[in-house]
């Protein structure tokens, strides 16, 4: 966050500097972009960030490993379960913990539901940015279904904190699978509905096709990931490259396109929802109806409540976990996962104490936002909105 002045030659008065944001509806939060304009043409676009900096990484160092999970919800607030998963996997790697298969499949299922919800918000809000109001209402109707499923499973709509170190917080409520099945049966036809409103719409195509083009080479150099990178033909998806949480057992495709424009990024997100539905469909029969949802690791994973009533050791472990936490061996790990926005990485360093020595979040939006200048420069002012929209940033994780 700082005051940027773009130097313009005095007297010529050819260009003007326009401040877009931090209070602007289409910057999706508190992003400020300083634009240098020549008429309606963008000469230079400089994103300024930091308006939402809350010091999450510093706060993590003052909390125990388990307490820090609640802070990860608040990074990418459109995909809280992806953040939970990334952080838990990192700490589990640090501890050398193996999570029961049942919990792994539930994790996969719910993170894919998160991806669907997150992409739905994206389609809806981007349609508003481009002037199509009705799609937003439809998308949020479906997203509400997903939120209700999250509420049923974890007790929370958004700040779920459902994945815990070693497994899950609690047994999902009865009937949750049926709710998901109903949603999954409905979703493809709903997706067709949005596509019939947008994909071949002339205004939609006019606003997105050929806009904000980036080459594969530039995208890699800029550190872009997720749909923004895959729109340039690079098939980098962490789920395929470095499978985690049993993703290697699922059969799904990674859609890519080669145009590298806003329209390609739109088509990819729609295709990704379809792939996520495929994964959810495969996950449902894989999940056993009963079985452990937490690994058996005394002193790290809280014991089952029933056992605490009869076993002294369980009671002691429970007390110790919640008063002082657990201490992983000293060392550092970096765990990457595929969040709806791209490569989400958690670097967790331990010094052998019950609090993380350092937690660093490699936020996909942070790197993707850096590419904004490349997308906008030389284009028209109205296209800036399309470009900001299609890189799909969440300021919560950009500023942390």
């Amino acid at each position: 966050m700082s005051t940027t002045t773009i130097s313009t030659p005095i007297g010529e008065a050819k260009t003007m500097v326009l401040n877009m944001g931090p209070q602007h509806p289409s910057t999706h939060g508190v992003l400020r972009v300083v634009l240098e304009l020549d008429g309606e043409r963008v000469i230079k676009a400089v994103p300024e960030i930091g308006y939402l900096h809350t010091g999450i990484e510093k706060s993590c160092e003052a909390k125990t490993y388990s307490q820090a999970i609640t802070l990860t919800d608040r990074l990418d607030y459109l995909a809280p379960l992806s953040n939970n998963l990334g952080y838990c996997l990192a700490v589990e790697k640090l501890l050398g913990l193996e999570v029961p298969k049942r919990a792994q499949y539930i994790r996969v299922l719910l993170t894919e539901m998160t991806r669907i919800a997150s992409h739905l918000v994206w389609i809806g809000t981007h349609a508003i940015d481009m002037g199509a109001m009705s799609v937003f209402l439809y998308c949020f109707r479906e997203r509400e279904d997903v939120m209700k499923i999250f509420e049923l499973v974890s007790g929370q709509r958004m700040m779920t904190s459902y994945f815990r170190i070693g497994g899950l917080a609690l047994e999902p409520a009865t009937g949750w699978i049926e709710r998901i099945q109903r949603f999954i049966a409905l979703m493809p036809s709903r997706l067709d509905e949005y596509e019939s409103l947008l994909t071949k719409n002339r205004i939609w195509q006019g606003r997105l096709r050929g806009i904000g083009i980036i080459s594969a080479e530039d995208a890699i150099a800029m550190g872009l990931s997720g749909p923004s990178l895959r729109s340039t033909g690079v098939d980098y998806d962490v789920r395929k490259y470095f499978p985690y949480s049993s993703y290697e057992e699922f059969d799904f495709d990674v859609p890519t396109r080669t145009e590298g424009d806003c329209y390609a990024r739109y088509l990819l997100r729609v295709a990704e929802i379809r792939e996520s539905i495929k994964i959810v469909k495969q996950a449902i029969p894989k999940i056993p109806t009963s079985g452990a949802i937490r690994t058996d690791a005394p002193g790290i994973v809280p014991p089952v409540r029933e056992r605490m009533k009869t076993e002294m050791e369980s009671l002691i472990y429970h007390f110790k976990i919640f008063t002082e936490g657990f201490s992983p061996p000293p060392g550092e790990v970096y765990q990457r996962i595929e969040s709806p926005r791209g490569e989400l990485g958690f670097f967790v360093a331990s010094d052998g104490s019950p609090k993380p020595y350092r937690v660093k979040v490699r936020a996909p939006s942070f790197a993707n936002l850096q590419g904004l200048s490349k997308l906008c420069e030389g284009r028209m002012l109205a296209d800036v909105v399309a470009c900001i929209g299609t890189i799909d940033i969440v300021l919560g994780e950009v500023d942390r």
């Binding site: 010091g55 790697k93 150099a221 550190g223 970096y334 360093a349 020595y357 490699r362």
Partner: protein, 159 residues
């Protein structure tokens, strides 16, 4: 925990060592992840090598993470998380910097994504990057005092 045998004779480390024995100061393995400690003076040449050689092609810089080991010296530790998209390989490079000489060469000339990552480390740790095109604060206001992620900076800030 015993490390897998294949990590021990990792071809990337061997390539780097064969190219310049001085470039590999130390090799650490933990939980299946390899970290190569590179002397600060060799960083720029080493990443150029890792990025450029066709059989290595570490073309994607995921992240740069700063860690403050205060009061141990050298207190600053920078971790570069490299990824080779064509080879599906990952690698971590580590560079140390002393508190009274916290300057590290910038890698923006190799990966332009490093620009913001390095600005963030400057902003929160106060480590400077030599050759960076725009060494300004990024998250904190320009007139902020101190570097919040340093270990001697209180969690609740100065009051």
């Amino acid at each position: 925990m015993a490390e897998p045998e294949e990590l021990k004779k990792d071809p990337v480390t061997e390539r780097l060592r064969a190219w310049d024995a001085q470039a590999v100061a130390d090799v650490l393995d933990f939980r299946g992840e390899r970290t190569i400690v590179v002397p600060r003076s060799h960083l720029l040449r080493a990443v150029e090598f890792l990025r450029g050689e066709t059989d290595l092609t570490f073309n994607f810089l995921s992240d740069i993470t700063g860690v403050d080991r205060f009061p141990v010296e050298p207190r600053f530790e920078l971790n570069y998380h490299l990824l080779s998209i064509p080879n599906r390989k990952v690698l971590r490079l580590r560079v140390f910097a002393h508190g009274n000489d916290a300057i590290v060469p910038s890698v923006t000339s190799i990966w332009c994504t490093a620009n913001w990552h390095e600005r963030e480390i400057f902003d929160l740790f106060g480590v400077r990057f030599e050759g960076h095109p725009n060494m300004r604060r990024i998250l904190m206001p320009d007139d902020w005092d101190g570097f919040p992620l340093r270990k001697d900076y209180p969690v609740e800030g100065y009051r």
